[in-house]
């Protein structure tokens, strides 16, 4: 047994230098295919867009510079993770003694929901493309050259999504727009979830007067007309990406805070929280280590829903001209720009609109899948 293992092992390690091959040889088909596809995709980008990559490496623009670093890091991470993972599963001899956490159980259940898994892939692919936009984009998304010659060109191999009234390549603009729209969605939700979770947990855990005061503040924030606040702020400040992230994040944490408070109220009654006090854990650690992890499931679901909502909100604001301002592309202001030319050049609004719809749909499906996977009640329904 020992001897026959050894050459096998060397082969596997060598194979996993090309990520995923080791897993495929070990029979872990799913993981192997994923790693292999990811690695091949990244290498293809590197090879096919070599010039753009070299430019981006030494680019003074932060987005391009980051994008090139990201590509290299992603490749390195894929290779080293693949190596590490193959070695680990060889070492443990397939017998992993560690138990399955509730989240691992949920992950397994999630994997059975094909629609949600596809949605997850779509989302991951979108973010990958958005991160690599400066390398992938064939043209400059902002610069205007020869507008008279290239204005409103229909989609073709050279301009996949056609061109707009200034002759800019819409495919490139859509890629850059993706990085703007998607990062606003994700980061605004991160802010909202972080504030909401901490706020709701504190209110629910301490209860009494603290709870009352904190929740009345939430009522006030909810009652505040966010739309007019934004109109006003845009009038005062220049609306840019960071500004939108902060504003959207700071105005949408209230829902999370409310339901986290409710979760905490019920978790607080459970005996292990009393147990945590009985072993002398300070309140701060009880909230962080014992309450919040148990309240995480609904947070994940609502976060997924919120990202879709945030992307839509950004698009709506940009469409109205109070979000991201041209020439910086975002899906919202691209659609807005396209509506004037809808009869002459349908493609200007069509492609960003489609991308927007796909993204929001994918996030909603993901949220559905997460809810089914994390909610014990839906599991029960299967058996009834």
């Amino acid at each position: 047994m020992e001897n026959s293992d050894r050459p096998n092992r060397a082969l596997l390690l060598a194979g996993s230098l090309l990520p995923g091959v080791g897993h495929l040889l070990l029979g872990q088909r799913r993981r192997g295919t994923h790693l292999l596809l990811l690695a091949v995709g990244l290498v293809l980008v590197l090879v096919l867009r070599w010039d753009a990559f070299v430019d981006a490496l030494s680019s003074p623009r932060l987005a391009a510079w980051l994008s090139a670093r990201f590509l290299l890091t992603a490749l390195a991470a894929t290779v080293s993770f693949s190596l590490y993972d193959v070695r680990r599963s060889l070492a443990s001899h397939e017998h992993d003694h560690s138990g399955r956490s509730p989240f691992q159980v949920a992950r397994r259940r999630f994997a059975e929901n094909q629609l949600a898994v596809i949605a997850l892939y779509v989302i991951l692919l979108m973010y990958l493309i958005a991160a690599l936009a400066p390398i992938l984009a064939p043209f400059d998304p902002v610069a205007i050259e020869n507008p008279t010659e290239t204005q409103y060109l229909a989609p073709s191999w050279q301009h996949l999504f056609g061109t707009d009234e200034f002759g800019r390549d819409l495919f490139s603009r859509a890629l850059y727009g993706a990085s703007v729209s998607l990062s606003i969605g994700l980061l605004a939700v991160l802010i909202a979830i972080t504030i909401g979770t901490a706020y709701g947990a504190v209110a629910g855990f301490f209860g009494g007067l603290i709870d009352n005061v904190l929740m009345r503040v939430v009522d006030v924030v909810i009652a505040f007309p966010v739309f007019f606040l934004m109109l006003m702020l845009v009038g005062i400040f220049e609306a840019n990406v960071v500004f939108l992230i902060v504003i959207l994040g700071l105005t949408s944490w209230t829902g999370t805070a409310r339901f986290i408070r409710g979760e905490v109220l019920s978790i607080k009654q459970r005996e292990f929280i009393e147990g945590a006090s009985a072993i002398g854990l300070p309140s701060r650690l009880i909230i962080l280590r014992h309450i919040i992890p148990n309240a995480m499931a609904p947070v994940l679901v609502s976060a997924a829903l919120m990202v879709g909502g945030m992307v839509a909100a950004e698009a709506g604001l940009s469409f109205l001209g109070i979000g991201i301002r041209p020439p910086t592309p975002s899906w919202g202001n691209m659609i807005s720009q396209g509506q004037d030319a809808l009869l002459v050049a349908w493609w200007v609004a069509f492609f960003p609109g489609t991308l927007l719809a796909i993204t929001i749909l994918a996030f909603n499906l993901l949220a559905d899948g997460l809810r089914d996977a994390l909610d014990p009640k839906t599991l029960m329904r299967k058996f009834v």
């Binding site: 560690s98 005996e271 006090s277 009985a278 072993i279 002398g280 854990l281 300070p282 148990n294």
Partner: protein, 320 residues
Amino acid sequence: MLLSVENLTTYFYLHEGILQAVDGLSFTVAERETVALVGESGCGKTIVALSIMNLVSQPGRIVNGKVLFDGEDLLQISPERLRQIRGGAIGLVFQEPGAALNPVFTVGHQISEVLQLHRGLTKREAESEAVRLLGDTGIPDPERRYKAYPFELSGGMRQRAVIAIATCTRPRLLIADEPTTALDVTVQADILDLLRHLQDQYQMAILLISHDLGVVAGMADRVLVMYTGKAMELAAVRDVYRDPRHPYSQGLLRSIPRLGEGRGELRRGIPGAVPDLLQLPQGCTFHPRCPIGDSSCQAEFPPLLELSHERLCACYKVNG
């Protein structure tokens, strides 16, 4: 004296009125001694445990009394000092081992947490120590169980894990609140053996809370019989079992079935039911159910008086 509870009074302020869960209770626990709190469900045993740890939460409040642990009043000291004692010098074992463990962390993680908090171990040290402690509690294959989540363990193993958490800091007092009630009989015996073994090893005192007189007989040195939040009788375990004085203690002991007893013979338990704690009878709260009680018992609750050496009883009829 390791633990000295004096005139402990815990009330719950409900919409319906004031519920006197624990009312003027006093007792002591010496080093390495095992004292049992005995009584029917709802007589305030668990609230005594929570009050000692100062863990009573709204709408309950400790309105009076002292809990002197090694001379410090746990109801008066600073929150930081209290946290050091909780889980440090005093461990607490809960009735329902499934509920006492956090479902989203491994059992080992939860032991390590206490070791890091109270013994200042590093993560790695805590991990190997936790595996060792799990092994000490008789859990087979402790390395593997370390990584198990609570729902993957049986009830008995969970209770062992909870005991490991409660004793990992070598506490001087272990409060065990119905430690075997949720377990089946064979496992009960193992858990009691484990508690006795750990008591010897760590020289702990144990405050055992139970409604199971069999469990108490095998474990305790002294017994405090409680009824409606008050002490009825406090004596050495042998005295209570051989010669219970208080009519309530007598009733409790009579309700244990014995081997060799004729089939179909009715148990002469205690007539009636535990009164509503919001509407306690005047005077001695037991007198409506008491075989020897009469109108003289309705005036005031009888004082807990010493009958003979180390034997206290709260009954007008017995005390004369």
